[in-house]
């Protein structure tokens, strides 16, 4: 299967259920979208993330009721530096969609989605631990993998591989 070029035009992608739903609700929440390698990515405006998640979860046609994963990509040194990535799955429709939120490098913070999917609890703690992104409203924002007194966030690109000396 040779690689097809990625589709980034929002108009062409309007038929996708998740994008259609989001656009119908609030077109300013959707910043961009990308259909690449059979996977749909939607960039969400950061302040609308929680509402967008609730909307996608409670959608009657194609409910994205399962949060597969929350992670983050660090695009240091470009800005906005962080991309928080949510992988959603619709168990009834067997459909996946990826939500992305871009965050600036200094004191990155974003709303938690633990109230939408409790599953986000550990995932968000892991992202906080390894990238230093604060999830506001998270019930227990503590380090998950590293020791409590660890300095720095190891998965950031500017974190020295041997650790701070």
């Amino acid at each position: 299967m040779p690689l097809a070029p990625a589709v980034t035009d929002l108009q062409q992608l309007k038929t996708h259920p998740a994008i259609a739903k989001l656009l119908a609700w609030n077109s300013s929440a959707v910043l961009a979208a990308k259909f690449d390698r059979e996977e749909m990515t939607i960039y969400i405006e950061r302040s609308w993330l929680r509402e967008a998640c609730v909307l996608l979860r409670d959608d009657t046609d194609c409910p994205f009721n399962f949060l597969s994963d929350v992670t983050c990509v660090d695009w240091f040194p470009s800005e906005p530096r962080f991309e928080v990535v949510y992988q959603l799955l619709s168990i009834p429709k067997k459909e996946r969609v990826r939500l992305k939120v871009r965050l600036e490098g200094s004191a990155p913070a974003i709303d938690t989605v633990t109230s939408v999917w409790p599953a986000a609890n550990y995932f968000e703690r892991e992202v906080f631990d390894l990238f230093g992104i604060r999830f506001t409203g998270h019930p227990y924002m503590r380090r998950l993998l590293m020791p409590e007194d660890w300095e720095g966030h190891p998965l950031r690109k500017d974190y020295p591989v041997e650790g701070y000396r």
Binding site: I91, P118, Y122, L145
Partner: protein, 401 residues
């Protein structure tokens, strides 16, 4: 949904309760899980898992390796099903590359994956039964696991850390007689499952210990991100192999076992039935194993055969280039999920166009499954915590990565 996520601080001895620190060194926390329990006598008031004792920073290590060098690292994540990890990673990279895999390699991958699933379930069954006190099942399971490990050793040269799947195909041709051996194993295995079930399924004590214990409702399971047998044990009929097929799973006929009660016994039954289904897939794969190459025709990505390398100039050059500077992967990102023995294992690979992955993230099925533990155990007895931990089949290597 707040009741599913509250994680208050545990403070000792407020009201006749006692804080019991179970783990990280404890016989039944399956590795280095630490569970902090607040107990009132034998009753568990609150429970809080504490993880990270096996954190090895594999995700960070991946960023410093070439794409093909990441494969051996993936073995070490979920060390009970290394081939599933291999498969998930290579599928993700192949998707990034847009590689077409020859059918024989796909069928081999499916077959070995199902053997891995059996292998992993056997370890689970043995340890789970041992946690509940049935010692003999453990050794019976390891007897069959030994057979599978011998097959792995025959095919890949390694018993556990196989690294057998490569980007673009398989590492080696399976040796002579491998399929016969596998066939023999597949023929005698169902009788062995009967043996385990004879010891456990109808045993009144086993049923007393597992039925109605550590219940998890379907909506809670979905909300908490549980997957695999933990989800199917709660009555949600979802299996990535059937519902979102990958690596040629659409060519195989198998049933997805689902149990409705959401208790330890349901999860046990799901997995035991999966053992039988998996061996059925192995048999189908053996019968329909296609002929042909085991590697994709992509000289820039796939290492050439040893023979060609010694006779052909280009092959030698490609070999040299792949080994020394890897191969560039087109920009993009991919989330590839496969059904591991524990649930949805997903690899999120981001490429920036160089020969090293920009970011590799593993979605650990166990990490999400373990979030269900407080929901399952609170208000129950100490012994039920052990049963619950066993029933969600955790692997700390995957949780901590």
């Amino acid at each position: 949904m707040a009741h599913l996520t509250t994680m208050p601080e545990l403070e000792p001895g407020q009201d006749r309760t006692m804080i019991l620190n179970m783990g990280p060194q404890h016989p039944s926390t399956h590795g280095v899980l630490r569970v902090i329990l607040e107990i009132d006598g034998e009753n568990v008031v609150r429970i809080m898992p504490d993880i990270g004792y096996l954190h090895t920073g594999i995700e960070k290590t991946c960023e410093a390796k070439f794409y093909q060098q990441v494969v051996p690292l993936t073995d070490r994540i979920d060390y009970l099903c290394p081939l599933t990890n291999n498969l998930c990673y290579v599928l993700a990279v192949e998707k990034l590359l847009g590689l077409e895999i020859p059918p024989k390699a796909q069928w081999m991958r499916v077959m070995l994956n199902e053997l891995t699933r059996i292998n992993s379930h056997l370890v689970w069954l043995g340890t789970h039964a041992m946690d509940i006190g049935a010692l003999t099942v453990f050794l019976y399971c390891f007897r069959e696991r030994e057979d599978i490990l011998r097959l792995f050793e025959a095919v890949s040269g390694q018993r556990m850390m196989t690294s057998y799947f490569r980007i673009g195909g398989l590492a080696l041709e399976p040796p002579l007689g491998f399929f016969e051996q596998t066939g023999k194993f597949a023929d005698r295995f169902p009788a062995k499952v009967d043996e385990y079930e004879n010891l456990l399924t109808g045993n009144p004590i086993w049923m007393m210990r597992t039925k109605g214990v550590a219940k998890l409702a379907a909506e809670d399971a979905i909300a908490l991100g549980a997957s695999g047998p933990t989800l199917r044990g709660s009555g949600v009929d979802f299996d990535l192999r059937r519902d979102m097929p990958y690596s040629g799973y659409e060519n195989f006929k198998f049933r997805v076992p689902v149990a409705q009660d959401g208790d330890v016994f349901s999860r046990y039954m799901c997995r035991v039935r999966e053992l039988r289904e998996s061996i059925g897939i192995v048999q189908q794969a053996l019968q329909g194993m296609p002929e042909g190459p085991i590697k994709a025709d992509a000289p820039r990505v796939v290492l050439p055969d040893r023979e060609k390398m010694k006779t052909q100039m280009e092959a030698l050059i490609y070999h040299f280039k792949i080994i020394t500077e890897g191969f560039a992967v087109p920009e993009g990102e991919v989330y590839q999920a496969v059904e591991s023995p524990r649930g949805e294992m997903g690899y999120y690979v981001v490429s920036d166009g160089t020969a090293k992955p920009y970011r590799v993230h593993m979605r650990a099925a166990c990490l999400a499954n373990m979030q269900t533990l407080p929901k399952m155990c609170e208000g129950r007895l100490l012994a039920d915590v052990i049963a619950a931990i066993g029933s969600i089949d955790i692997v700390l290597g995957e949780i901590d990565r």
